[in-house]
Amino acid sequence: MRELTYVEALRECMSQEMRENENVFILGEDIGVYGGAFGVTRGMIEEFGPERVRNTPISEAGITGSAIGSALTGMQPIVELQFSDFITIAMDQLANQAAKLRYMYGGKGNVPMVLRTPAGSGTGAAAQHSQSLEAWVAHIPGLKVVQPSTAYDAKGLLKAAIDDPNPVIFYEHKLLYKTSSEDVPEKMYSLPLGQADIKREGTEVTIVATSVMVHRALEAAEVLAEEGISVEVIDPRSIVPLDEETIVQSVIKTNRVIIAHEAVKRGGYGGEIASMITESEAFDFLDAPVKRLGASPVPVPYNPELEKAMTPQTEDLVQACRESLQRA
């Protein structure tokens, strides 16, 4: 198997798909010779040309809206939104158009588009370039929401997102772009949306973690393993649709659950997952309260120590597991 970075996996998926499927094209700011703000599209304009790797002006609503219009009429656009914070500028087109057209038009019209965008803090980009707003879009019926945590998942989930006849918001994470998976097949593969992945099996406490938090959960599991505590780490991979069954079954097995995301805890998607668990058959199996870890309710600060203090770190996850286990 080949080792590939997250960026390379995304690029390989798009390139392979574009070689096979002439309806697929990419549009976004600086995705041409610049190669995208994070280098994801590097080299693609050279292979596919400026018609299919379409450099746009700085017009997030226009880019997103024209992608929706092109999807509605037979193309399969991939929008690269430079930073996920800019989704705010494209929000009318996403929330009021892309998400609603099919239902609002009585089942007519598909919007097979993917909006790829990097989220997350940890790069010192401060308040307007570091947010994790996935709960915003997950709240809107009509948008699928994907958060790959590894290079392997990134390639397979992006393929599923492209093939999906509906709009998919595909959240990449800036800190994950340079991370690698050792097992990324060259041959195209698809990972179904709505299928969680058990990143580590365990028996005593479950951590449901998304995106970069998956890696911190795995680190925490390592630390706790040394203390003889067995942690199961579940990565939902997509929060809409959400694989409730895998989460519920894990909680029934471990009787304890921590939910961790980088987004601000208040109103974050962890609340939805926590409620889902307590409303499920897993409730009767809980030996401790469901615990959520998320960012403090502040704009992302610039100072690296403050930035780090805002979001859950590995030690916070370790601590949360210990606390959960101390509850009878």
């Binding site: 094209f25 018609e51 299919r52 379409r54 746009t56 002006p57 017009s59 609503a61 226009g62 880019i63 997103t64 809206g65 024209s66 992608a67 929706i68 219009g69 092109s70 999807a71 509605l72 009429t73 037979g74 193309m75 656009p77 009318d92 087109q93 009021n96 158009q97 057209l101 099919r102 239902y103 609002m104 038009y105 009585g106 089942g107 007519k108 019209g109 019926p141 009509g142 948008l143 699928k144 006849p165 509906n166 809409v240 649709p241």
Partner: protein, 327 residues
């Protein structure tokens, strides 16, 4: 054929008469809807285009079957002009399962994607980027479709208007932007909200042609749109057309029209585009007074028939609530 007026493209006598009937259908449809709202027979809200019929009918009269449109919250006229079945439109307003959106969209969301009506839109300016995108499809698939994007003077102050005109311009997209300047965005007079005389002037900011037409003159609307459509179809890029018109009714169902005078309304009503076109056809010898009257009554009856169809149509079952939901 018209003899004293040049019309581009040429239309047969039947076509020309059909356009008169279409405008009457649009008027009677919206007047009927107005009546039903007043009586509380339709719920929700609606936006009527009475007085603006030529700006709906004219552009759609000069495009081809595969060409597409995006419409607005004030979209019944656009829908009818693009060939919608008024029975299914009325059924939609009644919230019935036979409506275009199976009763789930209502007045502001009527669409017929397969027939090239990419939808009315409840968000001011919301459809303009969609039009640019549909035009992008046409360009990338080497089809010669042209997209008409209808919007109002209010939408010309939305970012989506500016972003879309710029995108369409730099990419030479085959889209004709039709600004129906009906003088008001709800209560906001265009004179208060825009500091230039003509919205068409904004075209120059994007390096595209801007054209002003009398929106109450069907022939002028058709001629100028035809030129713009051909320009776009030839790959020369978009055109912005500003059609000066007026909505006779209020913004939506509950509007006392305090922001304008009855004299101003009367001034515009005297420009009635339907009457002008009717008189032209009679003057040109294409229609007699009697035939015109017969045609008018037919249009009125068609709307009555649509009401009957809607009333007889079933309500959507509650089991359809989650139909067409994928996420």
């Amino acid at each position: 054929m018209l003899t004293s007026v040049e019309l581009l493209p040429e239309k047969s006598k039947d076509d020309l008469i059909g356009l008169l009937k279409e405008m009457w259908t649009i008027r009677y449809f919206d007047e009927k809807v107005d009546e039903f709202f007043a009586k509380g027979m339709i719920h929700g809200t609606t936006h009527l285009c009475v007085g603006q019929e030529p700006t709906a009918t004219g552009p759609c009269a000069v495009i081809q079957e595969d060409d597409k449109i995006t419409s607005t919250h004030r979209g019944h006229g656009h829908c009818i002009a693009k060939g919608a079945d008024i029975n299914r439109m009325m059924a939609e307003l009644f919230g019935r399962s036979t409506g275009y959106c199976k009763g789930k969209g209502g007045s502001m969301h009527i669409a017929d994607v397969e027939k090239g009506n990419l939808g009315a839109n409840g968000i001011v300016g919301g459809g303009i980027p969609l039009a640019a995108g549909a035009a992008l499809t046409a360009k990338m698939k080497n089809k010669d479709d042209v997209i008409l994007s209808y919007f109002g003077d209010g939408a010309a102050n939305e970012g989506s208007f500016h972003e879309s005109l710029n995108l369409a311009s730099i990419w030479d997209l085959p889209v004709v932007f039709i600004c129906e300047n009906n003088q008001y965005g709800m209560s906001g007079s265009v004179k208060e909200m825009v500091n230039i005389e003509d919205i068409a002037e904004r075209a120059s900011s994007y390096g595209i042609p801007g054209v002003i037409v009398d929106g109450n003159n069907l022939i002028e609307v058709m001629n100028e749109t035809h030129k713009a459509v051909e320009h776009a179809r030839e790959g020369k890029g978009p055109v912005l057309i500003e059609a000066k018109t007026y909505r006779w009714k209020g913004h939506s169902k509950s509007d006392a029209r305090k922001y304008r005078t009855r004299e101003e309304e009367q001034f515009w009503k005297e420009k009635d585009g339907i009457k002008r076109y009717r008189d032209l056809l009679i003057q040109e010898g294409l229609l007699t007074e009697e035939e015109a009257e017969k045609l008018r009554k037919e249009a009125k009856q068609d709307v009555e028939d649509a009401v009957t169809y809607a009333e007889k149509s079933p309500e959507p079952g509650l089991d359809t609530l989650l139909e067409d939901v994928y996420a």
